[in-house]
Symmetry: C2
Subunit: 215 residues, 2 copies
DNA sequence: AATTATTTTTAGACAAATCTAAAAATATAT
DNA sequence: ATATATTTTTAGATTTGTCTAAAAATAATT
């Protein structure tokens, strides 16, 4: 498999995970920042290899074979992210681009040894689950801050939207990866939260709470 | 730079290191297992980018820029080899192919953090020197077993010829990476050596001794 | 239901890296 | 020094992945 084929497979896998249905040509093109015509070309190639089921104008779904390969790429991506954060001490928001490259390294032995070296983690630094060597995925217990129970302690494991405006806001509020949250009150009218962030009381809007992942 | 350009640059660097003079089109083609015509095409491209000095029919040499880039690729290759052997416990003879892939990962920050993580090693598992981040190379103190002094202790760090016949011979003699050697006698007639291998007396021919690297 | 808008596919072109076969330059040998 | 052999380059073709522009299919709207 070429890098490009792997990237398409991964993208289809990710869109399927959130939508559940067939994936459209345009959806793939948009996510990969390429043209629909390029996508069509590649879909034919992937269909020939029996990695996807493709019917003209009807969108695609992954075959079992394609789904397994996609999971192996996701597995590699997330294991490398753990390596970069845990072992090389990269900030959590810098690892994605490097993992995008590392996920294409081909060696099953390498990835299984890396898995052991890292202590067989089940989640990456963003709280996303890491498929095991047979493709099994322990479902994530990652939540949005807007969904948590009152008076329970949670730890910040990531953001959904990583726009610079949002990251600046977090910086101002001294919220970072690993911060602890305890939601003390929820305003019924607009779902604004009164939260203890590292024992400091902060008011957090619903929009903000919808962009913070916790554990 | 593309993977292919990097591979050409690295090959030219390696051939230059051992020959010292201009590198011929055919020498490159042979080492890369490709056709001379493909090499010519790429040489033009590398010359356009001012990474090599290329004159038709006269062979090539690296420019300073090309030489530095080549060293950075070698640096990455050798650091990843150290990672694979020291941290993931790969056998020393399995790491080359994986490092060939990892050497193309693009991130200066990654490679410098990896360097620190590994304790800034100056040699890879085969005893070859690792260029530092500015391209400086500490000259190797790697020797052939045929060149060592009598009654001094050396450690096996690699082989020159890795044909399967030779590796089988080593296996039979229980010689492996890390074995200690003390040369007790040298036969003047044919340079056969009487060697203590891990305190066991073994007779080693000059041809064998010329293929074992020690420290 | 007919028209308009959107999505998707096709057709044809292009750049990168490779190849084969033939031509040109250089090296070797008689 | 002339003929032969080798090396290197050119010319033209191929594959992969991309693109633009136009055509075809599907979806949305009046």
């Amino acid at each position: 498999m070429t890098f490009s084929e792997e990237n398409y497979l991964k993208t289809i896998y990710h869109i399927t995970s959130s939508s559940g249905t067939e994936v459209s040509t345009n959806a793939i093109a948009e996510k990969m920042e390429t043209k629909a015509s390029s996508v069509t070309d590649m879909l034919k190639k992937l269909a020939d290899k029996e990695l996807i089921v493709y019917q003209k104008y009807k969108g695609v779904i992954l075959t079992d074979k394609g789904s397994h390969l996609a999971k192996m790429i996701v597995r590699k991506h997330r294991l490398w992210e753990v390596f970069l954060v845990d072992k090389l001490h990269f900030p959590w928001d810098e690892v994605h681009d490097i993992a995008e490259q590392l996920e294409h390294i081909k060696s099953e032995k390498l990835i299984n040894k890396l898995d052991d070296f890292l202590g067989n983690p089940t989640e990456d630094p963003h709280g996303d689950p890491i498929p095991d060597s047979s493709g099994l995925i322990k479902k994530s217990n990652k939540l949005l801050l807007s969904e948590v129970e009152l008076n329970k302690e949670y730890r910040c494991i990531g953001v959904k939207d990583s726009s610079s405006d949002f990251l600046k806001y977090l910086d101002k509020q001294k919220i970072s990866l690993g911060s602890t949250f305890v939601v003390k009150e929820r305003e019924n009218f607009d779902d604004t939260l009164l939260v203890e962030v590292n024992s400091r009381k902060v008011t957090i809007s619903n929009k903000i709470a919808n962009n913070l992942f916790v554990h």
